[in-house]
């Protein structure tokens, strides 16, 4: 499907949900640890696919593994590391993206893989 410009894309090929297949994740906004919410298992699959969470029997429970994975994701994308599914995090998650994992074989040199200070605090650089 190649088009010289975006206005030449036929209406029939334009999806009704603007964020595509991950649009449903937006329903998880506000979820936090301890909750059990429909759709969290799918989110765990997403995070597994991109290297943030180990393969497991994914359930809809917001467990510690999911919280840790979300924190790592937030760190990599320079978001507030709350471990919660806030709107900003989900807006980032549903964006179209490259299929290459952010964390390969458990290691990453994105923000979450950077060296820490002697106090164990991540050095967080903000690009201006």
């Amino acid at each position: 499907r190649f088009f010289p410009n975006s206005s030449s894309i036929p209406r029939s090929l334009i999806p009704t949900n603007p964020d595509g297949k991950w649009d449903a994740f937006k329903n998880l906004t506000g979820c936090h640890a301890g909750e059990n919410v429909d759709g969290l298992a799918n989110l765990k699959n997403y995070l597994h696919y991109f290297g943030y969470i180990d393969k497991n029997n994914f359930t809809d429970e917001f467990d510690d593994n999911l919280k840790s994975a979300i924190k790592t994701y937030q760190l990599n994308y320079n978001l507030n590391t709350t471990g919660e599914l806030d709107g900003q995090t989900l807006e980032q998650i549903v964006r179209p993206r490259c299929g290459v994992a952010d964390i390969v074989n458990g290691t990453s040199s994105m923000n979450s893989g950077k060296k820490t200070t002697s106090s164990g605090i991540h050095i967080h650089a903000v690009n201006h």
């Binding site: 088009f3 975006s6 964020d19 807006e91 490259c98 994105m110």
Partner: protein, 196 residues
Amino acid sequence: YSFFPGTPRWPAGKTDLTYAFLPANNLPDSVKAVFSRAFQKWSAVIPLTFTETSSYVVADIRIGFHSGDHNDGEPFDGVLGTLAHAFSPPTGILHLDGDENWVVDGDVAASAVVSAVDLESVAVHELGHVLGLGHSSEREAIMYPTISTGTRKVDLAGDDVDGIQVLYGSNPNYNGSATSTTTTTTQERDTSGGGS
């Protein structure tokens, strides 16, 4: 910038890489030209050259558009979602999702169509993987993992240049001016509050 585990790169003696397109795709010249421009972004900053060849089987870098499951263990998912993927060097494989609405001529920002994806932006990113770069946490970098629809980002940022030059050194003709240009429309659902 980041690298794949083990920091794989193309062998030091192999500086002239060839690339080819999957013959079954029958790509028009306009699409091939997009990749030519994308290769030039990288060759401008490192001492590697990229030349198209008609022999897909023996090319160092093989580019193909595929839909759904295409037998590499990484099935595509239709419109939006995952757009493309590539493998670390020296594998030389670059796959793009054939179901996307790829905009070829660079005016992706001119329309309100939310599913339009700028092909050159994605091509430059994936070639970064082909050369050995992983993802970057810097939003301005080409190697940032996500791209909003209606966005065109084709120029290497300083972070991209720094990373790729760690792997291959600098092109002697590189003048050190990496600029990052991103063009967006209102379709970029940016949560920064700054609008587009």
